[in-house]
């Protein structure tokens, strides 16, 4: 499968017909989708019509855009007018978005072909897609295992080589963790760098949209397209963002911290080995890598309670709009209140109900100060510690996920075990920092033998271009990542 930048360059040069690109992507989807169940909906006619329109644009001599002809799949919580927007939930079954999100507008304006809606954990709450009301997706490396989540459909679609690019959304790790588990690149921008207009809200102080790509350089290309100010999201920052695609991919003299606080007993030894090797690659290329003693990010290991209290509280408020009145199906009760209770009780899945309960509890009178306010105070401490570290270092490196892709059903009976999947990704989300997961090899032994491992790089706020340039440099130093059989490559 060609990279997004190769497709766009060739389409712009008139060497590649976007109709052929779309046809090939749809045929890969037909062949591979039964194995991974990455998609919830595919509008073939729409894709082909847009590819034909694009071909005419090229024929007329108009510039078809930076993503000309690139097939891009969108997580099914990002609105595209007229398309499904289930957020993986029964409560939005049959709902079609009445308007288009900022990110989809930007992609279409640059000539991308929006190909299908990808699966996710219900309302993006989960780390495996097993909370989707429409069935779990599967990992393209081993279909008895999860692809991660919540953007698991997007990561499985890219990891299976169906599309070179998909968009995911992340609140606590939902772009980077599935990217790591599927052997592809995933990037979460600085909070406020990408407009959330048209994204189904989960935790509004944390949610960001970002790219999942087969090639690290494409993450920079897509970030450049979707990032930027948008008055329709009041939390979207003003001004220009430096280009990530044009940033120098050079790690010479780059100061990288490897904090001991990110490593505990839960982190798999073989995952750590791959990450250590990755640090050697960066060092070889001129980076200054330093292990930072325990205590500098002392509060980062508390990110799980902080993240789950904050995000669930925000979710409890955001999801109050789903009451059967304005969207989707309604389950009638005897009174209006009974109808609310029946609709929400029966159409939200168990994990969403659990988080609404947790968040409502944490915000309720008598408990607010001990739980919600306390979590926000510790969140401040986490952010301060990162700020202090970034006065000495340019980047922080760690594993993305404590472990590789786990088996389907392995963690579904224990909500807290599932929450621990976010252990290493939640800190950057709480502090609003940009972070990438880039593939750094396969686990050689142990329970995740033969499965991909992700290297996580975190930058200071606003340093998205530097984080992405380093991911690009790392991939060019190390070589193209190992690919699974389904992708069409050979696993090393």
């Amino acid at each position: 499968m060609l990279s997004a930048s190769s497709i766009a360059n060739r389409v712009r040069a008139g060497e590649l017909d976007p109709v052929a690109v779309a046809t090939e992507a749809l045929s890969r989807l037909d062949a591979r989708e039964p194995a991974v169940h990455a998609y919830l909906h595919v509008d073939r006619e729409d894709v082909m019509q847009r590819a034909e329109a694009l071909a005419q644009r090229v024929h007329r001599g108009d510039d078809p855009g930076r993503l000309a002809g690139v097939p891009v799949s969108l997580k099914d919580n990002i609105a595209v007018k007229g398309q499904t927007l289930t957020a993986g939930s029964r409560i939005l079954e049959g709902y079609r978005a009445p308007y288009t999100s900022h990110v989809a507008e930007r992609l279409q304006a640059e000539g991308a072909l929006l190909l299908g809606r990808t699966n996710l954990d219900e309302f993006a709450m989960g780390a495996s897609t097993e909370n989707s009301a429409y069935g779990a997706s599967r990992n393209p490396w081993d279909t008895s295992r999860v692809p991660g989540g919540s953007s698991g459909g997007s990561a499985a679609a890219v990891g299976a080589g169906i599309v070179p690019v998909a968009l995911g959304s992340e609140t606590g790790g939902s772009i980077r963790q599935p990217a790591a588990l599927c052997g592809v690149t995933g990037f979460k921008p600085t909070y406020g760098h990408v407009s959330r207009y048209g994204l189904v809200a989960f935790g509004s102080s944390l949610d960001q949209i970002g790219p999942i790509t087969a090639h690290a350089e494409d993450a920079a290309l897509v970030y450049d397209v979707i990032a930027g100010a948008d008055p329709r999201d009041s939390t979207c920052l003003r001004g220009e963002r430096p280009s990530a695609a044009r940033a120098k991919a050079d790690v010479e003299g780059l100061r990288i911290a490897v904090p001991e606080d990110f490593v505990d007993d839960s982190v798999d030894a073989h995952v750590l080995m791959r990450v250590s090797e990755a640090m050697a690659v960066l060092e070889e290329a001129g980076a200054i890598v330093k292990v930072v003693e325990r205590g500098r990010l002392a509060h980062a290991p508390l990110s799980i309670p902080v993240y789950y209290l904050v995000s669930s509280s925000e979710a409890a408020a955001n999801l109050s709009r789903f009451d059967g009145m304005r969207y989707g199906p309604r389950h009638e009760g005897d009174t209006l209140l009974d109808t609310y209770r029946a609709t929400r009780g029966e159409l939200f899945g168990p994990e969403v109900r659990r988080r609404i309960m947790l968040g409502t509890f944490a915000l309720s009178a008598g408990y607010h100060d001990a739980w919600y306010r306390k979590a926000l105070q510790v969140r401040r401490l986490i952010q301060r510690e990162f700020e202090a570290l970034f006065e000495e270092f340019d980047l922080v490196a760690a594993p993305t996920s404590p472990f590789g892709a786990f088996s389907m059903g392995e963690k579904t009976d224990d909500p807290y075990a599932m929450y621990l999947c976010d252990l290493l990704t939640a800190p950057a989300c709480l502090a609003g920092l940009p972070s990438v997961s880039v593939p750094c090899g396969l686990s050689k032994r142990g329970p995740y033998k033969g499965l991909p491992v992700g290297l996580q790089l975190i930058g200071a706020a606003g340093e998205d271009h530097r984080v992405l340039a380093t991911a690009r440099a790392f991939e060019s130093e190390r070589g193209e990542p190992e690919r699974c059989e389904l992708f069409g490559g050979s696993a090393a």
Binding site: R341, T360, Q377
Partner: protein, 101 residues
């Protein structure tokens, strides 16, 4: 910490209908999750300002003008099964003794 009364009260606030079995499970699960979270209570946070939003910089303000939603009313009403004659049909709320203020 979590008992049947707390679950009933929180489910009421959240407008979530829970079956008796689910209420039982919720007690165990929430209790278990919160026990893991109790570690936060040990952190010294005296005088620490809560951080509700990671970014202090101002966002992008919208222009101070009236925007008309581009889609006609019919399009929005077509998204629900409960539209009639240009209105959204909901249950009556007056005289409903169970409704909370």
């Amino acid at each position: 910490m979590i008992d049947p009364d707390v679950v009933r009260r929180v489910a009421g606030l959240a407008r979530l209908g829970l079956s008796p079995e689910e209420s039982e499970t919720t007690i165990t699960q929430l209790q278990g999750i919160l026990e893991h979270f109790e570690v936060l209570g040990e952190v010294e946070t005296e005088g620490v300002e809560p951080l509700a939003h990671a970014v202090d910089e101002p966002g992008t303000p919208g222009a101070d003008e009236i925007l008309v939603f581009p889609e006609p009313q019919d399009t929005l009403l077509s998204l629900t099964e409960h539209a009639r004659e240009g209105f959204l049909v909901v249950q009556r709320i007056l005289g409903d003794s169970d409704a909370e203020g």
